[in-house]
Amino acid sequence: MTTLPETTQRKMGLVIDLDTCVGCHACVVSCKGWNTENYGAPLSDQDPYGDDPRGTFLNRVHSYEVQPLAESGMPHPAAQLIHFPKSCLHCEDAPCVTVCPTGASYKRVEDGIVLVNESDCIGCGLCAWACPYGAREMDEAEGVMKKCTLCVDRIYNDNLPEEDRVPACVRTCPAGARHFGDLGDPDSDVSKLVAERGGMDLMPEQGTKPVNQYLPPRPKDRVMAAPDAQIDVLAPLLAPVAEEPKGFIGWLDKALEKI
């Protein structure tokens, strides 16, 4: 069994905007590329050109269809598709750490990042079993547990320009749907964003206290949603100046006088 630190100096993590994520998988592949080349063993791929290609990824995007409930102004709301990127949430009460029999899984005191020390990992898989989010993956080739490192080898890396000292997934996200920072600091940009947009814990009932936060999608299909009140707001915009071409040409002449 491994002990979690009582507190961490900072709570570094990701804020993922589900309103903006278009589900493009850029973060997934950028992560794969960086982490294949960097921290620990490469992320291997088994049967990469065969019938069952399966490799290790530290970040994956899932898509879910959602059917909003009917409301009076919108009796038949259209289904929606939500793209949901998921990686380790660097929980404050990380069950993957406490379950580790060798101490290989640990949570860093200085920034709260949950890491696996690969030289101590025996590949027993208990941590993956304990994680309610399915955020850890066993590397088949290396036999060690892999997980998001929050690019610990980027975020403090003096060999990178300062603006690049963010996780690879954040740097690459084309839609700007991923944000990185200290969620323990209420004045940080990410904390403010969470406050502003109603950021949420993923599965709070699990009691893991995840550091990563998700920003919910904005309400959709509202042009028709509200009862007739909404239409009344818009209706004057379409008040006819003419019903027939002839009347329209007359209107045109007068309107041109005014400009």
Binding site: V22, V28, A79, V109, N157, R171, D253, L256
Partner: protein, 941 residues
């Protein structure tokens, strides 16, 4: 304190960063290639690059797997078994070039048209067309005809520029962004970045698409329209805006042909043509004098309302014709709602929202500028509504008119080239009048008489021989599709096989997977490629193909010229072609070999230079008979299209040192590009960055950059007079006359004002028998034939079920894991299905080009792409079903010839699950074997 391992948090990232241009799709982002031990270690976006500003998509980040793919071809190949067997032997480049010139040179001397040279997703079209022109064949085009020519041509014919490469929304200022038929590729990263910016500001996004995925999934409003009806929906919006007078009258009067006078005498041979003065200038009524005046006369105030009588003929402004057409009841929301699958109430709500944002949220920028009439304006007024559209509206047989309808809507709102609206990127705006016309005059042993592709102005520009038959093998620029600005690659093999309009000898193609996903009627095309005549000879005698990878098309070729990967080659992303410009800047870029190939391969363009040198093609040869260029890099630096204008605009030699735009070749140009991150950018002054077609400051800057030879201000063509000229011919006017069977179709479809008509398949196929629309979309993480062998990306998109809407799913009692038989008038496939609720209720769809043939792409034969993946292409024919008139009617847009992929109608039936998808194809023998069983990719220590 816990005992934590000590980590090196500052490991060395790489030995070196080499900056080049991505080619994992067509978007041309800048990339930083991190090198370790001389090998590619990691690829990320280039922060300084104008296209992607540091971000990179999944495809780009997976470039390392593409560059090292086991499917890379290794050496030139000569076919030794029958076509389609995949049996080849590796040969030397000398032998390969000898074989190719052995076929080509006799054709060049005797009948150059017997070479059909078509390049696929080619980013060097200004070079490949130059090669074809110097060879002398009229049969050249790239892939635009089966991609999105409707979008490009409608944009250029209407407003002198189009979406994607040629324009972009004003991301920083727009307040409402509306997209139509945008699949998840074009313009890959810029759209995602733009959506992010728009959402960050709380601005609204409306997505019009039968499928709610990708960009449409994050849109605030989703309009799940019925395929092929976008034009009708748009014209209903136009109807509402006209009725409410919510149009920008000043903009229409000053910057469009809405005030230009039209001959309205039905008995006149000039009926419907625009009135001009003795200098050929378009005429308007000047509100100041009440008299006709040239549209661009200093101080003229064009009138949208007044008519003019001359010699007993009434001339009315275009605006009258617009009002008469679109205020008609047939375009009322109630009249279109059912066909579009969008309620009348919703159409009105969207029209009102467009009106509100355009006119109540007007933007005014304090930027002084002078227009082409000499008037100076203190400000730039913006209507912050922007649009983008792509293949979803374009790949229909009514696509050209639908794209024109969308441009009509944009222009009525006054939202083109204004703050917050849609903006052009250099070299656009560019009026049709300075584009070339098509050329097709063949002289054996000599170059063609001019560029192949262009913009016809009327029947006189059609590519017809003296006997009236088509001059081109693809029948581009004929009465069947007069304005086919990008050619019609999808018709080449079918026409060559049929000998219609004539037979060819050699088919030469590049980066186009015509034996699989890049063709309609895949089975039929495979049979055409392998068909033999009575003497046992192939009907298409020779096929030369260039590709970097072991694609399906390789097996159907006689001679393979192996291309490099994108990290091993020189390229230029040129202002002569489709550059990387932004609305605020002209920019171009290069690729360069960040690694040298470890195989016996050459960049295709270099292979073309070598072929040209062997044949001593005129444009490639000095007067003394020596070759002008040794390879493509040499051409990029030293070729001049006209004096001072070359493929790259940056760092040319001026009189006083280096200059940009116009200047002499600079031998250090590529080195300078490399030092600058692989690209060149030249910004437009703030005062010149909007209103470009009319802004004299911009016009003069563009002349300096070499984009124009002189200022070219123009007005937008809401009324397309060129189209009216084709209608006039169909009505019997003029010397060049269409064949009888096409007269009625030309009258109906080449309407000079945007019009909607049902997709042709609706008229040829029983909509009761085939009630369901079937579409494909590109996934964001896969680029059709380029990507599917990528070891990382195929783990994301290795399968493609057919997605069915709830109505069809429930009516047929489908359950998870089921399969369906999908039948069109042309064919039948049996495929796995999945349920999707966020989908138009009469539409099914799947991801494009995930299906692969067994043996291709170095995949194992049991790869899911080959056993469960499938193509809809088997259901789509290049011809419409026979009408009994003995004619071959193309399944294409009647204006541009664009392949009508999305007109497809099918029926769906549940069926027992087979072992594999149907139809099945025998495996082809792989010339490269298959990939490894495991990857542990780490090049550094």
């Amino acid at each position: 304190m816990l005992d934590q391992p000590k980590l090196d948090t500052s490991p060395k990232v790489s030995d070196e960063v080499r900056k080049t241009t991505c080619y994992m799709c067509a978007c041309r982002c800048g990339i930083n290639v991190h090198m370790k031990d001389g090998k590619v270690a990691y690829i990320e976006g280039n922060r300084d690059h104008p296209v992607n500003k540091g971000v990179l998509c999944a495809k780009g980040s997976a470039g390392i797997m593409q560059h090292n793919a086991p499917s890379r071809l290794r050496a030139p190949l000569k076919r030794v078994g029958p076509r389609g067997s995949g049996e080849f032997e590796e040969i030397s480049w000398d032998e390969a070039l000898e074989i190719a010139t052995g076929w080509l040179e006799p054709l060049r001397q005797e009948a150059p048209e017997k070479l059909a040279f078509f390049t696929g997703r080619d980013q060097s079209q200004s070079f490949t067309s130059f090669w074809a022109q110097n060879f002398g064949t009229p049969n050249y085009a790239a892939h635009g005809g089966f991609c999105s020519v409707n979008m490009a041509a409608a944009g250029i014919y209407t407003m002198g520029g189009a979406f994607w490469e040629f324009g972009q929304p004003d991301w920083e200022n727009t307040k409402l962004f509306m997209i139509f038929g945008v699949a998840e590729d074009h313009d890959s990263n810029p759209i995602k970045m733009g959506l992010g910016r728009v959402k960050e500001r709380g601005a609204k996004v409306i997505g019009v698409n039968p499928i709610r995925s990708g960009y449409n999934a994050v849109a605030d409003e989703w309009v799940g329209i019925t395929p092929g009806t976008d034009g009708l929906f748009i014209l209903a919006l136009v109807h509402e805006l006209l009725r409410a007078g919510k149009i920008d009258l000043r903009y229409l009067a000053e910057y469009t042909n809405a005030p230009v006078l039209v001959n309205c005498d039905a008995s006149s041979p000039d009926h419907g043509l625009l009135m001009r003065d003795e200098n050929g200038k378009l005429l308007v009524i000047d509100r100041v004098t009440g008299e006709p005046a040239a549209f661009d006369k200093k101080g003229v105030k064009p009138d949208l309302s007044a008519s003019y009588e001359k010699d007993g003929v009434t001339h009315r402004p275009v605006m009258h014709l617009l009002a008469e057409r679109y205020m008609g009841k047939e375009y009322a929301p109630e009249a279109v709602a059912e066909r579009c699958g969008v309620s009348a109430r919703r159409i009105r709500a969207i029209a009102a929202e467009l009106a509100r944002v355009a006119f109540e949220e007007e933007i005014v920028l304090e930027r002084e500028w002078t227009d082409f009439r000499g008037q100076t304006h203190k400000t730039m007024v913006g209507r912050p509504v922007s649009f983008h559209a792509m293949r979803g509206i374009s790949a229909h047989s009514n696509g050209f008119q639908t794209c024109r309808s969308l441009h009509l809507l944009q222009i009525l709102l006054g939202s083109v080239e204004v703050p917050g609206g849609f903006r052009f990127k250099p070299p656009y705006p560019k009026p049709v009048s300075i584009h070339p016309t098509p050329h097709c005059k063949v002289t054996p042993g000599k170059p063609l008489d001019g560029p192949h592709l262009g913009f016809v102005r009327g029947p006189e520009d059609l590519a017809l021989k003296e006997d009236g038959t088509p001059a081109r093998i693809d029948k581009a620029f004929t009465w069947e599709n007069p304005m086919s600005a990008h050619g019609m690659m999808h018709m080449v093999i079918s026409n060559a096989h049929a000998g219609d309009p004539y037979k060819i000898d050699t088919l030469f193609m590049y980066m186009a997977n015509m034996a699989w996903n890049s063709t309609m009627n895949t089975r039929g095309v495979i049979d055409m490629l392998t068909d033999t005549d009575e003497d046992g000879e192939y009907v298409i005698p020779h096929i030369i193909y260039s590709d970097a990878y072991s694609s399906e098309m390789v097996a159907y070729s006689d001679l393979i010229l192996p291309d490099t990967t994108y990290l091993e080659r020189h390229d230029c992303i040129s202002l002569l072609d489709r550059p990387i410009c932004e609305a605020d800047a002209a920019a171009d870029a290069i690729r360069w070999p960040v690694v040298e190939p470890d195989r016996d391969v050459k960049g295709f363009q270099t292979a073309l230079v070598l072929l040209a040198n062997k044949m001593k093609l005129p444009g490639f040869t000095n007067e003394d008979g020596s070759a002008k260029w040794a390879d493509y890099a040499d051409y990029i630096v030293n070729h001049e299209r006209k004096p001072g204008i070359g493929p790259l605009a940056g760092w040319r030699k001026g009189e006083d040192g280096l200059t940009h735009g116009r200047g002499a070749p600079n031998e250090d140009q590529l080195k300078t590009y490399i030092e600058n991150g692989g690209f060149f950018v030249n910004h437009i002054a703030k005062e010149h960055a909007y209103m470009k077609p009319w802004n004299m400051g911009y016009q003069e800057w563009a002349v300096g950059m070499g984009l124009y030879d002189s200022p070219q201000p123009y007005i937008f063509d809401l009324y397309a007079e060129t189209m009216r000229k084709f209608q006039l011919a169909a009505e019997g006017h003029g010397e060049r006359q269409p064949p009888e069977h096409l007269r009625e179709r030309i009258k109906a479809t080449l309407d000079p004002l945007p019009v909607w008509y049902p997709p042709f398949e609706d008229g040829h196929v029983d909509p009761v028998e085939y009630p369901v629309h079937a579409l494909t979309q590109r996934p964001m993480a896969m680029y059709h034939s380029w990507g599917s062998q990528n070891a990382w990306l195929r783990q994301i998109h290795g399968r493609n079920p057919l997605y069915l809407p709830t109505k069809i799913w429930e009516a047929n009692g489908f359950a998870e894991g089921d399969w369906a038989r999908v039948t069109s008038a042309h064919g039948e496939i049996t495929v796995p299905v999945a349920h999707m609720a966020a989908l138009n209720e009469n539409t099914v769809w799947t991801w494009n080009a995930i299906g692969k043939r067994k043996g291709a792409w170095a995949l194992e034969k049991d790869a899911p792409e080959a056993t469960k993946g499938f193509l809809l292409n088997h259901l789509i024919h290049e011809l419409l079903p026979p009408k009994g008139d003995g004619l071959r009617w193309a399944n294409s847009d009647p204006v541009t010839g664009q392949a009508a992929w999305f007109d497809l109608r099918v029926k769906i039936e549940k069926t027992a699950a087979p072992d594999e998808v149907h139809p099945t194809f025998a495996p082809i023998r792989s010339p490269v074997g298959t990939g490894p069983d495991e990857l542990r990719w780490k090049v550094g220590k």
